[in-house]
Amino acid sequence: MGIRSLSLAVGALLATTALASAETLTIATVNNGDMIRMQKLSDAFTSEHPDIDLEWVVLEENVLRQRVTTDIATKGGQYDIMTIGTYEVPIWANQDWLVALDDLGDDYDVEDLLPPIREGLSVDGTLYAAPFYGESSMVMYRTDLFDEAGIEMPDAPTWSFIADAARQLTDKENEQFGICLRGKAGWGENAAFLTATANSFGARWFDMDWQPQFDSPEWKETLQFYVDLMNDAGPPGASSNGFNENLALFQSGKCAMWIDATVAASFVTDPDESTVADSVGFALAPDTGKGKRGNWLWAWSLAVPAGSQNVDAAKTFIAWATSKDYLALVAENEGWASVPPGTRTSLYENEDYLKAAPFAQMTLDSIMSADPKNPAVEPVPYVGVQFVAIPEFQGLATAIGQQFSAALAGTTSVDQALTTAQQLSEREMRRGGYLN
């Protein structure tokens, strides 16, 4: 073999090795419109970074949560990027399970992130997950029904206004219900909604000594108000309605009002899916004049688990997917209304976006009024608006959500549901070492 052919062979071998060393990022994500769009548009990233391959694992939210929690807790290293929410970030960062994202590059403009979202994803001032889209909750209502009844929805309604309007707009014989709210048991379903609502009634989960507060008059007022309102003005079988069921009811014109995630705004205003797309108005989540509104705060975010072998490539991808340029890329391909909302201040200063998304200002106001560090009227020892960022919360809130759901269905009383909730949480807190 001549020197020439030998060097050619070595060259070919080196080239193969170089090709083989292309990094592959495994990205675990949830099934929603924004995430699927990111998957579709990721060719733009791979053409800029030919040395990085992307593999997508899309799962239903609860399956994903169980899956990534097992992996990160055992340092399985199956994923390089995980999609997690504001609930997981403080807990996982404190366990040293996440890589700090304080160096996403000069162009990233971390100061542009909306302050409540950034705060919810940071621990001791360090960002541990980059927000992909943020959401709060707000009132969605039928402008046509309100006009007909001569009721005017204020931008910032109170709970008593909402309750009066709901009762007035209910016509059960014609399957017209004044209000649709979550009733299905689950920590991300009715427990999230009622925790956020309780904040506006002055209730809280725990006092500063981690003593559960379900025996307080504020919780009694919250739950009694909710059960009475739903019995008078809610749809039948509301105790099994979650986000999707209420979405279907609202889109088919059965609900005059629906208080839920801001992300629903894009669904209910879509003429292809919604029969009421032309007549939907938005207002801030209600309050009782105690200084807190009943809206929550959530951000689906991208984080790098500590077990990843491709930290630098993962950070490069995250910086791309959560950048201002990505928002512009979505706008260019699918229009401004499809841009993932609720993460960057600059988006809400963009005239094109404000024109394309009629719910933009209300989403921004809702997010800005949420304070994950001080969610309740009185001080609390935990972070989180519609959740308590402790590992015990998922199991506990699901059990308590079942009690609330039973109170709504009428199989238990409000008092009994709260007594059981108090007992359950005292036991769990004692077990977890929060209480002696």
Binding site: E55, V58, L59, T70, K75, N244, A264, D272, E273
Partner: protein, 276 residues
């Protein structure tokens, strides 16, 4: 011979059987129909049964977003692999329990069944750690072994019940003719127990096909079967029922076809004894 039935009673029974059959089949039919609707029609109240604009859009989107064939191939390998491996282990085990029982046979059978009483999530972390340390996370071989172990008690129990009905004298006759143990099992027992083995095989393939705990928790991308494919179309915040229905239809189609063609064997194996 079947008992004579009066025409009226016969008609009533036939109607009842068809009604029950239709009720059981209805969710599958509804999923199938929904897969051809638009997302708006899928959630419409009142729902439309047959008169809507039929569309293949959901199927094309599912094809575009996911690699269906790879997921289906993983399902086939995992379901059949674990079942065949299970039969390989279970046939000798059931033979020994059926034809040379000891005092502890019954106890062993009960103990095997008791392993099914542990909720799988209780064993998740240890098994995950074992797979991680052996480099078996996201591999089909790990799932073949784990699903085999999961379903082994059922396979052994089913085969044991079939084998017990085979007269021991036949096996003894084979032994008298000089058949070795291997020959006795391969040439005498197995051919006589074919209906039983076939129905065990089919039932276990279906169980392994539908398994959605280990297959979701131990895979990421390479080994993800159809359970992961369906899970990627479900969402608690967003009504994607038409796409989910299309994904579900694609996921159940192969097993439905298999069940359809083998229903005779399946029913025979489940309702009759091995040699009746």
């Amino acid at each position: 011979m079947a008992r004579e039935l009066s025409p009226r009673r016969r008609a009533t029974l036939t109607t009842a059987a068809w009604t029950i059959g239709f009720l059981i089949f209805f969710p599958v039919l509804w999923t199938f129909l929904t897969s051809f609707k638009t997302e708006g029609e899928a959630i419409a109240i009142p729902p439309s049964f047959l008169f809507f604009d039929w569309t293949l859009e959901n199927y094309s989107e599912v094809q575009e977003r996911s690699n269906y064939l790879r997921h289906a191939m993983n399902s086939v390998i995992i379901a059949f692999g674990s079942t065949f491996l299970g039969l390989l282990v279970a046939i000798p085990a059931a033979w020994s329990m059926a034809f040379s029982p000891t005092k502890s046979t019954r106890g062993i059978l009960m103990w095997m069944l008791s392993t099914k009483m542990l909720p799988p999530v209780g064993a998740l972390v240890p098994i995950y750690l074992i797979c991680r340390d052996l480099g078996l996370l996201d591999t089909r071989s790990a799932l073949v072994v784990i699903l085999m172990l999961m379903n082994l008690p059922i396979i052994v129990w089913m085969l044991f019940t079939y084998f017990r009905e085979i007269p021991g004298d036949i096996l003894e006759a084979a032994r008298m003719d000089g058949a070795s143990l291997r020959k006795e099992i391969t040439y005498v027992l197995v051919p006589m127990a074919v209906p039983g083995i076939a129905s065990t095989l089919l039932l276990n393939v279906i169980l392994a096909w539908n398994e959605a705990f280990w297959t979701l928790n131990l895979t990421a991308d390479d080994a993800a079967p159809l359970s992961a494919f369906i899970a990627s179309y479900s969402s608690p915040e967003g009504l994607f029922w038409a796409k989910l229905s299309a994904a579900s239809t694609l996921a159940i189609a192969p097993i439905l076809v298999l069940g359809w063609f083998s229903q005779k064997q399946l029913v025979r194996g489940l309702t009759f004894g091995a040699v009746k």
